[in-house]
Symmetry: C2
Subunit: 669 residues, 2 copies
């Protein structure tokens, strides 16, 4: 259990109920209460106004939570609106991102935006988008894919408790519909396990989802029992009673040992009797005439401003990186020795551990991904997420919010479990590094469930992503270091098997680069691989050489962005004869990366594509690669066919146009 | 609440505890008990033998559950091993798929495979793969990605209770590590909500995960409280006491109103004292000398065979399709009228409802996807999964196991939440149809969190998948019908906005087809689109025509498989000048589909690629498409540039080689 790191709580017993968090908070004066009710009405009125001006949006989902947000903003949130980067600021994440009218109305009430800007909601060019994004300085992460804000809040709270060790509190406002997402329970499980008393989840139980009643309607007891069973302290309140809200939030902030879940019974559309608690009003702006009646009923337009409690002033957001960054000495490997790239990842991660802002987390497979090396070296900065990949990504995103450089690892195949979270991380402008081991048929006997065979396609399609796939240990170590300095979603695919080290330790590798491993001016064909298939390409080049065919070999270790220059030069020399070999399904991976790179050129290359076309089985890696058509022999065959096939010439010769035969392609998919 | 369909349980109260399920089961005789213990030892010995023969695998994870499986097989499982298609057979799903040695040892004990075959485990060519797959006739679905077997079991049980109405029972064997997956709780939530007393989940709590202790070790009380809070009846037992196991399974089979969760305290590696309850033995075969000692300690090799209780003989697996399939009359739409393709999907799904094996489910957005039309017409065959996309896919897979034709729908973006489940569905050879609405920037004001912009890449990379993207209502209706007759994972992307109907209702569309919407022998460029961009391509063709440029327009509604012939002909006519326009990120989508299709040809086309390169925001659809570079104007510009650019000629003329300039590309990604 040493790999859990220090300061982890002992396993919580769900029945323990610390009386300390139940102590009575100071009460509200009647004046306070009246002010809070007024503020709630303003938030409602503004939610109606901005969504009606936009002609779309979610006013009713905002109105249900308006009283909660009024009390939170005026009395509990600690936040300096002029200094959103103050490390002592609380975090407030709208897990129910569709309550953006409420979020933006809150910004107005805090004096952060003007009423005029509020009314630009959802208009082209406005930063007040349909769902919140970090284009807005007071928004930590993009939400709108339900069930993600709470897990990310857990990540932020983990950073707060175990890394920053600062007293800020994390508040997550959740809708009741999203409580059906498993990710909510992954999140509460980890919040309970790690004893995150600095986290409060608020469930806005307004009973109505998009197309009707939620699973449990106003059965708050169901949520109470679940929250308790998952290690949180549940508090059930009337979400429109400002005194109850105030007491609950006050207790939540002072909780010890456990996160708090405030379960608030609310009314959708609260404040406007025509639509209160009525079905059919989800995600609909009120028409102007109704909006007018609503505003009237809620007491008219107000422009109150709230002074939020400010935190202590503070310097940088977290400890590192220090002004004089410590020297990182990467591991090196002897050329020809056999080392798995996943091992090099682990070794390099330990080296990067000298940078105090580098943190790591893993999905209970750290002895496979080699993240366990970091866990042993830096237990304070390693977080075991167990088999919960959605929470794995969310923890990384949460730590990115706090300015850390998170490295998350699991099998390449299992990052697909969190694909929606990775998609949203890109919209959140999060900087997360992902290492996916055990990719492709190369893993062998474990069979297809464990083989990442669509990961390159999926990761390439993430906005602004970087996709790396090194073939040897020295390049893997260098690229792991490059990941630390690369923003956005950065994915590295590592290999299970140990293969010969190809490059000397002083060779340089960068994001967007490629290596020409073998070349001559007379190359007739280019063999392009990455990871395990680069080794197969080298074997093929040997065989082809013995047949008198000169083959260029390219290590396309940076799958996105791709090195167009190296590809173009290879195309020019070989007359556009490419064999691309990848341990991946044929769609969207290395082959597509090559094709997309040069498709706009006057003469795109002709590509013989060796990829995994049939559903793989179990077997030895070499058996499976041969069966899949990506072995050295398969690549040799494809290259030979291509060299003999029609193509445009490398010198300006006349030729007839037309479509030649396609190099051999195996099987289906 | 009418859309929930009939026969749904009233909302369960987690505290109710039906005494009926606690009645005493008939006890075991001492002879019975001794036999069961012996059978458990045989399963252990065989798990050790086959994994040692393979040199890999998970014997210790098998040994912990051996007694449970022995009792289940000998006394509770109702299964005809000679007739795996008997509709009255129970289902036993190894959610902990890595316990495959146990699963296969069970097959031997049932007389389904020989001892000789057992020893082919994990060898190339054997059907006994590292994790179970349906290549084996007694395996329903592939497992090995943890946390999926239980949700799929819920899908099977839903079919059993609400569709088949047969008394078969569904047993899911879960590991304790996978209980950290949110999907487990999504599954139990739905099992509780739908009152699936025909489902028993067995938690094999052996305390040890892959790299150390699990989150809660042997704290069975945590699991008990969680299972109860999620609507199940929890039973805690000693998983090595055959009497306790027998009583628990006996009660589980007779449960009413609720699913049962048997929480069994077990010992990893049970039976071999050298490794019992020891860390470091996950996923490791015993070396031959240890295996010998283990077999000796466990009493040697046995070849007992168990007569499993057989179900009533029965005919077809479910009611439909009837011998004389009812006539399906698809909806039709007038050319020029404006209809969203998601609406056509909903209309067509209602029409397909005449086929009694067509079922549908949705992720609480049926009024957006238009699945609500089916829910109203066929409430008995519609299943509301609420906002739980992993369970949405699992329900579809479970119904596919029972021979139904499931159609699952949500926003295209939110299928990414279940990407790992879709990946595994392909390995499971499941036949599931997915309709993803609200794709791309075309959705407008809701912003990027709701925009499917990587769905085509992700879905194309699924093994054996079909990807459809119709541009008008008549083609959408025809393709919805085609989905019903297409095996594997079939995805259709539908559009939020209403666009003009382009095709007459008698036009035919098929999987793998494409439509040449405009053409002449003099076409200088081909504009290729699908969905909303086809309309933009048509607008561009009009503008180009006014400039004297003749453009072919291709509706690539079948994105996978793609119609190579139509593309090749267009390339030949236009000298390989293609503009591909897609409302998707540039990687792996429509553009890649075109490039991959022709990349092996002697002269691949030159592709100007209009795709979404910058992170979109909120705005009107036309504003966002223009900003993304995929509007009619953008396509016109790209085509004009391409027509004026260097290219190989359509008649056999001499030309110089080289790489021309790339057509304009906007922004990053």
């Amino acid at each position: 259990m040493s790999d859990r790191g220090p300061q982890r709580p002992t396993q919580h017993t769900v029945s323990d109920d610390p009386a300390t968090i139940l102590q009575q908070p100071p009460g509200l004066t009647p004046v306070d209460s009246e002010f809070l009710r007024e503020l709630g009405q303003q938030l409602r009125v503004d939610s109606v106004r901005c969504s009606t001006a936009a002609g779309s949006g979610h006013p009713t989902s905002s109105m249900s939570a308006a009283d909660i947000v009024a009390v939170l903003l005026a009395r509990h949130l600690v936040y300096d609106w002029s200094r959103p980067d103050n490390p002592n600021n609380d975090h407030l994440i709208y897990s129910k991102g569709h309550a953006s009218p409420l979020c933006y109305s809150m910004f107005k009430a805090a004096g952060a935006i003007t009423d005029e800007e509020l009314l630009t909601f959802r208009k082209f060019g406005s930063r007040l988008e349909g769902h919140p994004t970090p284009v807005i300085p007071w928004v930590d992460v993009a939400t709108g894919s339900l069930g993600q804000g709470l897990p990310i809040s857990v990540g932020v709270a983990l950073a707060g408790k175990y890394l920053d060790k600062l007293p800020f509190h994390v508040w997550a406002l959740c809708g009741d519909s999203e409580l059906a997402e498993g990710s909510i329970w992954e999140a509460l499980d980890k919040a309970g396990y790690y004893g995150l008393s600095n986290l409060t989840a608020i469930f806005d139980v307004n009973r109505l989802g998009q197309r009707g009643e939620t699973e449990y309607g106003w059965n708050l007891e169901v949520y109470r029992q679940r929250a308790e069973a998952f290690g949180a302290h549940p508090v059930v309140i009337d979400g429109h009673d400002v005194e109850q809200i105030d007491a609950a939030l006050s207790n939540a902030r002072r909780a010890v040992g456990k996160p708090t879940v405030v379960i608030a019974r609310t009314i959708k559309g609260k404040g406007f009797s025509e639509i209160e608690n009525k079905d059919g009003w989800h995600g609909r702006a009120l028409p102007p005439d109704m909006a007018e009646r609503a505003i009237l009923e809620m007491g008219g337009v107000r422009h109150m401003t709230v002074q939020t409690q400010k935190p202590e002033p503070a310097g940088a957001r977290h400890a590192g990186p220090a002004p004089q960054a410590p020297r990182v000495t990467l591991p090196t490997y002897e050329v020809g020795s056999k080392v798995a790239t996943r091992k090099a990842y682990g070794d390099a991660l330990v080296a990067l551990g000298r940078l105090p802002d580098v943190v790591a987390m893993d999905g209970e497979v750290s002895n496979s991904t080699h993240a366990d090396e970091f866990a042993r070296a830096y237990p304070d900065r390693f977080f075991e997420m167990f088999i919960a990949e959605q929470m794995l990504i969310s923890a990384a995103v949460g730590m990115s919010v706090r300015g850390y450089r998170p490295f998350a690892s699991t099998f390449a195949a299992f990052f697909t479990r969190a694909y929606d979270f990775i998609r949203m991380a890109a919209i959140s402008q999060a900087n997360i590094r992902l290492s996916g081991s055990h990719a492709g048929v190369e893993i062998g006997q474990d069979g297809p469930s464990q083989m990442g065979l669509e990961d390159l396609a999926a990761m390439r399609a993430i906005h602004g992503s970087t996709v790396l796939y090194p073939s040897d240990a020295n390049s893997a170590a260098k690229l792991t270091a490059a990941m630390a300095d690369t923003d956005g979603v950065v994915f590295m695919r590592t290999t299970r098997g140990a293969y010969p080290v190809l490059y000397s330790a002083d060779e340089e590798f960068q994001v967007g680069g490629a290596k020409v491993v073998r070349s001559s001016d007379r190359d007739q064909v280019a063999l392009i691989g990455a990871g395990v298939t680069l080794h197969n390409c080298l074997a093929a080049a040997d065989r082809l050489a013995s047949e008198g065919v000169s083959a260029r070999v390219i290590d396309l270790y940076s799958v996105k962005p791709v090195d167009k220059d190296v590809l173009r030069e290879a195309s020019a020399v070989t007359g556009g004869r490419f064999v691309v070999a990848e341990d991946h399904y044929p769609q969207g991976g290395l082959g597509a990366a090559v094709m997309e790179a040069l498709a706009g050129d006057a003469r795109p290359p002709r590509v013989a594509h060796c990829a995994v076309r049939d559903l793989p089985t179990s077997g030895r890696p070499e058996e499976l690669m041969e069966a899949a058509g990506i072995s050295g022999g398969n690549i040799t065959d494809a290259a030979r066919t291509l060299v003999n096939a029609e193509r445009f010439e490398t010198a300006g010769s006349s030729q007839r146009p037309g479509q030649g035969g396609v190099p051999p392609e195996k099987g289906g998919n």
